[in-house]
Chain length 232, copies 2
Amino acid sequence: MHRFFVDTAPAERAFLAGEQARHIATVLRLQPGERIALVADGTEHEVELQAVAPAQVTGRVVARRRVTTELAFRLTLAFAVLKGDRSEEIVDAASQLGVSRLVPFTSERSVVRDLSPAKRERWSKVAREAAETSHRGVVPAIDALIAWPALLEGLDRPIVLWEEATEPRPMDALGAGDVTLVVGPEGGLTAEEVALARGRGATIASLGKRILRAETAAIASVAIVVGARDRR
Amino acid sequence: MHRFFVDTAPAERAFLAGEQARHIATVLRLQPGERIALVADGTEHEVELQAVAPAQVTGRVVARRRVTTELAFRLTLAFAVLKGDRSEEIVDAASQLGVSRLVPFTSERSVVRDLSPAKRERWSKVAREAAETSHRGVVPAIDALIAWPALLEGLDRPIVLWEEATEPRPMDALGAGDVTLVVGPEGGLTAEEVALARGRGATIASLGKRILRAETAAIASVAIVVGARDRR
């Protein structure tokens, strides 16, 4: 059953327009009588289609259920924006794996120092599609771009992965509640940036002795936390 | 210091030709007196360059040390070949993370059913470069393509990640020794294929309730095992 995120939960009847209607009518070519799932804020609304046209799709809600695929804790990933489409790989994989919030940042050794509205919009689309295909109940939020010192103000006891750290491993730095991971740019965070983070209460952790590319470090750290904490 | 894998450990003097010499002379533009590391079978040979030309680079070995970045266990990843360059993403990330051996396979729902010599050669290059930049001591081996039933014959008690399994998680399925992970194609392994694997002693495990794309599942499962077992 195809899944679509909607901003507002449908009541008894559902109406879709814009890109979603066009996609259902012209790409998926769904027919009246077929069912789709509309997901709003963690609840899945099963909808039987009644009329399908590229401009509008209508249907009636036949079932409602709470989505059970979300992690039991909030996982935030702060990552330095990377060149090319490598940030997009992070947004895609992290959204599949269950992150709640993505925070792009710049730091001293960042090569990419801005985030255009078009690129942020593109990331939102990638995050939404990843959340749809992975059967999630919510779409990860994507923050505006922020610089290193300001980033630290807004995060609750983050775990900063640093290639010059030798311990602890993220597995051993996890508390019981929400988790925030921070991964620097290609070239790494500077010792001064790491000292500033430590002074603000961050834990500095190591992903092991191998030197990972920034996007691999970001995806691996999310996977490790999900692997360790999502054991239901 | 730039790192290069070589097939044969240098004795007192080192000679490089071919692509490596060309790269050192014309891309990196290294000069006599500068140092590089030649890595062979887990040992790093620090070499001071003596003569640099695109056809041949020579130098003398000034130090030798055992590489300490390898995992203390052998980690094998068997993965269904995917469309486009998505298999290459797996080879790249898994090689950075520390896998010893990569085993591409086909199964019932595989769309890509062959692996050309050129593509396998390309993967070998990706694995070698990933191992170089991540400071590893060995390059992961890449097996020839194999079909599902034959795959199971050659693997020692594999853990098969299956999206229809609910437990155990890979963290809870790990023994004390070497680890083999198996990730199916987009569209998944069939129930019959999974039953066959179970009959051959495989553990069937779950990466959680979210449905991951095949390449994300492969990279995440490797990261989870490394995160759980590489705690020195």
